[in-house]
Symmetry: C2
Subunit: 211 residues, 2 copies
DNA sequence: AAGCATTCGTAACGGCGTTGTAATATGATG
DNA sequence: CATCATATTACAACGCCGTTACGAATGCTT
């Protein structure tokens, strides 16, 4: 009927692998479809038949990055000390992000910045999966009496995720205060949060009147 | 000596104002030097004689964004309740960031992503100034006995900054967990942190053996 | 008035993502 | 086996982009 396909799954994987190598190593700005096609010794058409466009390729890279990150966190097996698990998850979270800054960037940078054409009605973000293990640990911690059971476990986990993501992002964006041991601060901040969520914490009162 | 200059300070301000309008409104990806020059009815040469290149223009926009953000935080006058000041700073921080997402993005997104040519040996980041008021409030809080004096005030402030920046960034990047009141979580996380730093918090022990 | 140093606008360069199109390679058909 | 039909690919062109080379415009000096 027609010529045999060379734009097949194998080529898709080769393109994806090569693109991941450059993006995870040098960032999305260093990725060019023409260069990528040349590297894999095919034409730019391949990218369009296999990924739609550059946004589609980046979306696949995003999914790959999410897979890797989630897998790394899933390697932290739950223990009988859930509060400790939360801290350990945070430390590994930071360690992996710092070790793979561009992988972390494609997961958490504003995607409208990376690729303006990408609409907001895209498939839901998978980076949020990196926060599921935290929720599980907090939930187990509540059952073990290590966290207040009056607070939504997702709220507790989100506060930890926010702190982790924030301190990691500040370092990665070059905004860490000079002369400060951010790693220590990171661990202590997590410790304060985990300890603070032991007792029930209602909504803080008296700060409604913001000037 | 030569023809009179039209690439003067006035034109510089007009370019800067116009560029700020588009970038703060639609992001750096929406900024084109050619379009910008056309809008201000000059040539692209003007940008190069006044800002060097696009990175220089973005650098000036960065400084402008930092100025605006710092000014907004400086409007929070210290009270005799420094711990409350910390919370208030955090709330205004979030409010302003959410209201001006692209302004916040140019301040805190990885600048090597925004403009690859920009070397890392550029002028030091000014976004860190947004964290100075926090340090001051914490320092006053320590003198008032609201925070442990055994911890570096910069460490306490950084933990708060990290939490604020992290939760704000998660929302701006579209990674907020669905069905969760992130604003409440934000306020409660800050409350837990501020309360947690009351007592001296040493380095958390026993988590060194990360699997 | 002529010369000249300086400044600016235009056009060109290389590269990008994307798309239209023509060549190609195959299975089906006679 | 030769031809056709068609799915599939490679290539070139389009319209952008940031950047730069260069000639034109300008006003002071002689």
């Amino acid at each position: 009927m027609a010529r045999l396909k060379t734009h097949d799954e194998a080529l898709r994987l080769r393109l994806l692998h090569r693109a991941a190598a450059t993006v995870f190593d040098r960032g999305t700005a260093a990725l060019s479809l023409r260069q990528l096609a040349a590297d894999v010794k095919t034409s730019t058409t391949a990218v369009y038949s296999l990924f739609g466009n550059k946004a589609g390729l980046l979306r696949s890279l995003y999914e790959e990055a999410a897979r890797l990150f989630v897998a790394r966190l899933a390697a932290i097996r739950p223990t009988d000390d859930p509060a400790g698990d939360v801290i350990r998850l945070g430390l590994v979270y930071r360690e992996y992000a710092i070790a793979n800054p561009h992988l972390y960037a494609i997961l958490f940078s504003d995607r409208s910045v990376q690729c303006p054409s990408e609409s907001e009605s895209e498939r839901p973000p998978e980076a949020i999966e990196t926060y599921r293990p935290l929720v599980d640990a907090v939930r187990r911690g509540q059952q073990a009496g290590q966290f207040s059971s009056e607070s939504d476990p997702e709220v507790i986990a989100l506060s930890v995720w926010g702190t982790a993501h924030g301190l990691v992002s500040l370092v990665l964006s070059g905004n860490e205060p000079p002369g400060l041991a951010v790693a220590d601060c990171y661990e202590r901040a997590l410790g304060v949060l985990v300890a603070g969520w032991r007792e029930s914490k209602g909504k803080v009162q008296g700060f409604a009147d913001v000037p």
